[in-house]
């Protein structure tokens, strides 16, 4: 076997400490009899040409490059091998600059250390095998879970890029949480006005054929892997055809059954067949089966008969349906919700009238909400004093230790909106910490501070606060021993992951953090990727965030999708992966438990594990774990590593 050693002087960086002639002399005594070439700067344009030229004329079987760290130029030198017609994995780099020349005082000692390292590399490289990147056909289309700001933005952008998108939404409508709000921080922009163009574009825009919206639906099962997922989606019956309904509401008038409307925080009634709230998109009601009188055996078809669009719009017999779609990647955009404020003791949530959480108050402010936008107490009066309690369950080790980041901003938005609707109301903010990041939010704080009727009070712990109500009288907020009357109390609870995250996490094998938010591949460098290849994260499902960030996150996930999967192009699979020898696998399945990427599956028929090379990241943990030695870590095999150990120790 012909082995070539290329020794880079790196100017004086290496040459000044390590004697190339002594190295060449020592190499001459290696059993492999490698040839040694000296290059001045092997990474320079000239050096690379010299290297490639020499590879072409010498035609070695294996190559050792003694130069700088492989973290600098491994890819560069692999390309040189490719250019010279060699398999790029037949090379081993010895880091004689960062790890020897620069850190060893005595040149003789440095030279000796370099010779040992080069001997190890020669022993190792002999056993290295040519490896090939594999190519795989992929489906460029995507599944987006959740039609809130992040999911809508992602779906639209993908459609613009010509990709087909399946957009699955759990509720009967799109727009997520903010579509239920009237005004948004920081600029008090009208939420429906801001979102409607986006929603309209999604439903009837230029790329309607590209987006398949499935409302009232959930992911049921996903099989396959990056580039080729198959998703099963369970669709609950709406009983109203989205394509044919014109949203006139005749069926609603006719419906005899009523219930409380969860989309108005149960503060108003709705019919069994009704809109979630006025103005929702898609503009079609949905029938709540459990509320409909038919569920009690009453033969009723009032809604169906009332429909002016014919027999086929309302379908009382519609049943649950499961659809199957093939996609290449998945974007999770399931959003967030609010922590149940009744779990924070002493604040009266759920027990005292006129104590509302932020979502209930948003609905009260909304012109499509239960009071039509009027701020009214349960008794129907305008309040003369309002208390807004920040950090309810946030920054609190007993509840959620993190700051939810957005609450102060909407709390001061509330201040602004209350004082513009009811200028005489006095408003007291109770806060633990004030967090108003960014370039715009400060205006809301300044406005509240300038409002003579506003007071800001800081508390140390939520247990220092108590909301009480004596004998049906006015609410009292007791803060650090001092009582203040309040006709209405608004709580700003911690932002928590939306319901259903656990099930989705289990279904997709995408892990969640201790708070139930989806875990990023890396919190800073890969925050839009989940730990599973091809499954991306967008919006508040990964941490509390505002609409701006959620939309940007949506675009981040789109970036990954577009960059990773392109129509007509295959994906390359890195060859440095693990592979199970099925004949030697004992079937203990230890490898399945140590693989961080769920890349290993078990075939019960063959009684053998199998590594999916697409999902494998090549860490080699399973290789080290396999008691049968049945797993090979390509390019880092046991034999290669053992040979290197033996070589450096000779």
């Amino acid at each position: 076997m012909k082995i070539g050693i290329y020794f880079c002087n790196c100017g004086s960086n290496i040459a000044e400490k390590i004697s190339s002639s002594t190295v060449a002399e020592a190499a001459g005594s290696f059993p492999e009899q490698p040839y040694v070439k000296n290059v001045d700067f092997i990474c320079s344009e000239e050096g690379k040409l010299q290297f490639e030229g020499s590879l072409k004329s010498e035609q070695p079987d294996r190559v050792v490059v003694a130069a700088c760290s492989p973290r600098d130029h491994e890819a560069t030198f692999r390309r040189c091998l490719t250019n010279a017609g060699m398999n790029p994995y037949l090379m081993q780099i010895v880091n004689i600059r960062e790890q020897i020349a620069w850190v060893t005082e005595d040149p003789a000692v440095a030279t000796e250390k370099a010779i040992a390292a080069i001997r190890g590399a020669v022993c190792r490289v002999r056993l290295q095998q040519p490896l090939e990147k594999k190519q795989l056909e992929v489906c460029p289309d995507a599944l987006v879970i959740g039609a809130g700001p992040a999911g809508m933005k992602a779906a639209l952008s993908l459609a613009e890029a010509g990709r087909s998108v399946v957009l699955v939404e759990r509720t009967p409508f799109i727009g997520g949480l903010p579509v239920r709000f009237e005004d948004l921080f920081p600029a008090l922009e009208c939420a429906p006005c801001m979102l409607e163009p986006l929603m309209g574009e999604l439903l009837h825009g230029e790329h309607p054929g590209k987006i398949e919206l499935i409302t009232m639906a959930e992911l049921m099962e996903v099989t396959g892997f990056y580039g080729n997922f198959i998703a099963k989606i369970r669709c609950r019956p709406r009983h109203v055809s989205l394509h044919e309904c014109i949203g006139c509401g005749e069926c609603i008038e006719a419906c005899p059954a009523t219930t409380m409307n969860e989309f108005n925080s149960n503060a108003s009634e709705r019919k069994a067949i009704d809109f979630a709230f006025t103005g929702v998109l898609p503009n079609a009601p949905f029938l709540m089966e459990n509320v409909c009188v038919r569920s009690h055996g009453v033969e009723c078809r009032a809604c169906k008969d009332a429909c002016p669009m014919g027999e086929d719009v309302v379908n009382l017999e519609e049943a649950e349906m499961v659809v199957e779609r093939t996609i290449g990647s998945i974007i999770i955009a399931t959003g967030a919700g609010l922590y149940d404020a009744s779990r924070v003791a002493g604040l009266g949530m759920g027990t005292l009238p006129d104590v509302y959480d932020a979502m209930q108050f948003e609905r009260m402010l909304s012109s499509t909400g239960p009071t039509g936008g009027e701020i009214l107490t349960a008794a129907g009066n305008s309040p003369s004093s309002v208390a807004i309690i920040h950090c309810v369950g946030s920054l609190d080790e007993d509840h959620k230790p993190y700051c939810s980041g957005i609450c102060c901003q909407y709390a001061f938005k509330f201040n602004h909106l209350i004082s513009s609707k009811l200028p005489d109301v006095s408003i007291t903010h109770y806060y633990r910490e004030l967090v108003m990041p960014g370039k715009e939010a400060h205006t809301l704080l300044r406005h509240a501070a300038a409002n003579e009727k506003s007071t800001l009070k800081r508390y140390a712990a939520i247990s220092d606060l108590a909301v009480t109500c004596a004998d049906g009288g006015t609410l009292q907020v007791c803060a650090q021993g001092e009582n203040s009357a309040a006709d209405m109390v608004i709580l700003c609870p911690a932002v928590v992951p939306a319901e259903g995250g656990d099930a989705l996490s289990a279904l997709l094998d995408v892990s969640c953090d201790q708070f139930g938010f989806f875990r990023e591949l890396h919190g800073r460098t890969d925050a839009a990727q989940s730990v599973i290849k091809g499954i991306y994260l967008a919006g508040a499902c990964q941490e509390p965030m505002d609409i701006r960030s959620a939309m940007l996150e949506g675009m981040g996930a789109v970036g990954h999708t577009l960059a990773g999967l392109q129509p007509g192009r295959t994906i390359e699979i890195e060859p440095i992966t693990a592979e199970v020898d099925e004949n030697h696998c004992a079937g203990c399945r230890l490898c399945l438990s140590v693989c961080p990427y769920h890349a290993i599956t078990f075939n019960t028929e063959q009684n053998s594990s199998h590594v999916n090379a697409i999902l494998c990241h090549g860490c080699g943990t399973c290789v080290a774990a396999c008691p049968a030695g049945a797993i090979t870590g390509h390019h880092f095999t046991n034999e290669q590593i053992m040979a290197e150990i033996e070589g450096v120790l000779q």
């Binding site: 880091n95 600059r97 790890q99 080699g620 080290a624 590593i641 053992m642 290197e644 450096v648």
Partner: protein
């Protein structure tokens, strides 16, 4: 008068590619010398370090072994360093049975930014193994 020759131990260092190998490169960038006794074997993850590599290193003449991993929670492969830690615990028991002092096999964490820590850990390890003296295996 004869001066006693200082024992220069041979040590194998398993460095994970993403943190500790980068930490070693960082130490290089700082150009501060440390003892030359550690021969580095690069692996992608400390989780790749098979206990038989360590045993083989001792068998082939190493007086000490050091496994350097990413800090807990920082592993490039999420939890490979936890596996390394588990295996190190197991190795300690095995080494004891073989009559090899467990101090000869150290596990530590070095991040990509911790050049200084890398030099310090190498220095300490060399000192520890030097104090223990050459490894004499029963078969020798």
């Amino acid at each position: 008068m004869m001066t006693e020759e200082v024992f220069e131990p041979k040590i194998i260092g398993f460095l994970c590619n993403w943190c500790s190998y980068a930490g070693a490169d960082k130490a290089g960038g700082m150009q501060a010398s440390y003892p030359p006794n550690v021969k580095v074997i690069r692996v992608m993850c400390s989780g790749r370090v098979d206990p038989q590599f360590v045993l083989s290193a001792f068998e082939k003449g190493a007086d000490g072994v050091i496994i350097l991993a990413c800090h807990p929670g920082d592993c490039h492969y999420k939890e490979g360093n936890c596996r390394a830690l588990q295996r190190h615990g197991m190795l300690n028991l095995m080494l004891e049975q073989l009559g090899i002092e467990k101090e000869r096999c150290r596990l530590d964490y070095v991040s990509a930014g911790e050049g200084e820590k890398f030099s310090r850990v190498i220095g300490e390890t060399v000192e520890t193994v030097r104090r223990l003296g050459p490894l004499l295996l029963a078969s020798e």
